[in-house]
Amino acid sequence: MAAAPKINTEPSYRDIDRSVLRVMEPAGRAYWAWIGFCFTLVAIAGGFWARQIYSGLGVTGLRQPVMWAIYITNFVFWVGIAHSGTLISAILFLFRTKWRTAVYRAAETMTIFAVATAGLFPLIHLGRVWFFYWLLPYPNQRYLQPDFRSPLVWDAFAVSTYLTISALFWTMGLIPDIANAREAATGWRKTFYTVLAMGWQGTDRQWRHYSMAYLLMAGLATPLVLSVHSVVSWDFAMAINPGWHSTIFAPYFVAGAIFSGVAMVITLLIPMRRLLGIEDLLTEWHFDNLAKVVLLTSLVVSYAYITEAFMTWYAGDPIEQMTFHMRYFGPWGWMYWVMVSCNCVIPLLLFSPRIRVNLRALWVITIFVNIGMWFERFVIIAGSLTANFEPSQWSSYRPSLTEIMITVGSFAWFLGLFSLFSRFLPIISMTELKEGIVWLRKAVKRDRVRAAA
């Protein structure tokens, strides 16, 4: 790729288009090598899954009573990662947050691929995956209907609605930008973008309906984003299992989801802005604000950890207290303290404005948050199952190579899809950046002044 042209401190509409469309020019070998690496890992993971389908779940480490472990942890982790996209694209849109325009497309794209990754795990977790359709609400041969009192059925509705609405919202935002790409492209790319743009021409008639629908979709997506992780949390909270059966799970999971999702956005955007040469569109101001969201949600998550411990102590249920004692000081206690260090202690560094705009430090902090949030889900899900009501059933769990490779494959799948998208479709919304050009100009000017100093 040619060196990124620096846009001036007063970027125009044309500068924005040029910077974004330049990213979509044909990529070099390094890019394709990266894509090849990701999908090779996916193929290896696919091989392990095929072996699991053929042999049964016995090839995993799942044994009674720990029948939910890494697969369900991955499911909850990826659904959580998906949350920041809709937070940034819908909730912050309704609040008219200025800094969202440059980051929302990447966050929304991350949402789509994270939900697509999460959606694989309930299937991977099935012993007989060819019966996945049993989750759908239709009567079987004995006219036995699905039980709508089961949280697993709510989950199927919530996650599939979330995927559909996020995809529609994302597609709507993309249409005007793809029309721009269509004008600049040549050869097969022109045909590709012409088909995807569906004849968009930016007429007043089109904008009138588009703006209204976009606002209403944001209004619909806002409660949806809060509901999805609440429903996921009820997969656990509705069970009477100690360590799961808690009323704080919905807000606790939603805060954790936004925390991990925004951290993942930062983890992806920091290298991406450098590799794609879009430093002038994704400024320190954007990262400063994203880091503030991470800090806020870290404090909410820390508060939830404290509340959870307090409720267990105050309620006085000995079984619940034993579960929490095991969680803190049992054989897997180290995982709990890794989680507390990554989610509650390390993000406190973000109180420093200097660290919030030090992108290397910020990147490292968000990696820790990702690790911490994965462990949080594992500690809650698998950890709570090891020691149940019946001491005779107590057991441990050790993941098998199959589970580890499928987990690695899920990260490769997500990163591969995201990388593919970033070079073929506009990773930054040109339309919205143009709408908020005044704020972009201020941010670019601030960055230049800081760099000069």
Partner: protein
């Protein structure tokens, strides 16, 4: 008298909106605008009512709630599962299903509504469309009688058009 098209381009939406207001006051021909961003100024100048897509979203949302109620209540009566003598209909979980279907169908209706009302997918290029109208220029295309052309051109130029071009229809 034959009809012609006058295509004008503007550097910003304020000038474009001003030209639209002048054009409406003069009552000459009908017009279409192009812009790289949605602009409230242009929307106000055109003076059309709010998009009916909102009613489609409402209809989708109501259909979703009704579908949710039908599915949950219907299947409960189809297979009566007595759980400890509790009431047959469990409203709290049913609300979740209704809510999810409300959002799902509301969103789908809204999306299809935009496509239908905006005339996309469109295979034809609108008269006077130019790639720069997607990039950084705001355009007005006026269809009028040849006799009114000079008047329209002067309105455009006085409103600050950068370029005014005549084209046969």
């Amino acid at each position: 008298m034959s009809t012609i098209a006058i295509i004008s381009s503007f550097a910003d939406d304020a000038r474009c909106a001003h030209a639209i207001e002048e054009l409406r006051a003069a009552k000459v021909g009908d017009f279409n605008t192009f812009s790289p961003i949605p602009s409230h100024k242009i929307e106000h100048a055109i003076g059309k009512s709010k998009s009916p897509v909102r009613w489609m979203v409402l209809m989708g949302g109501i259909s979703g709630i009704l579908t949710g109620l039908a599915v949950t209540i219907g299947t409960t009566y189809e297979w009566r599962l007595n759980a400890g003598g509790k009431p047959l209909l469990s409203w709290p979980p049913f609300i979740i299903i209704c809510f999810e279907l409300m959002v799902l169908l509301g969103g789908i209706f809204g999306f299809l509504g935009v496509l239908g009302l905006s005339g996309i997918p469109a295979t034809e290029i609108a008269l006077g469309y130019n790639g720069r109208f997607g990039e950084d220029r705001f355009g007005i295309v006026v269809r009028c009688d040849e006799g009114d052309a000079a008047r329209v051109e002067s309105i455009m130029k006085e409103s600050g058009a950068e370029e005014v071009v005549r084209e046969g229809v």
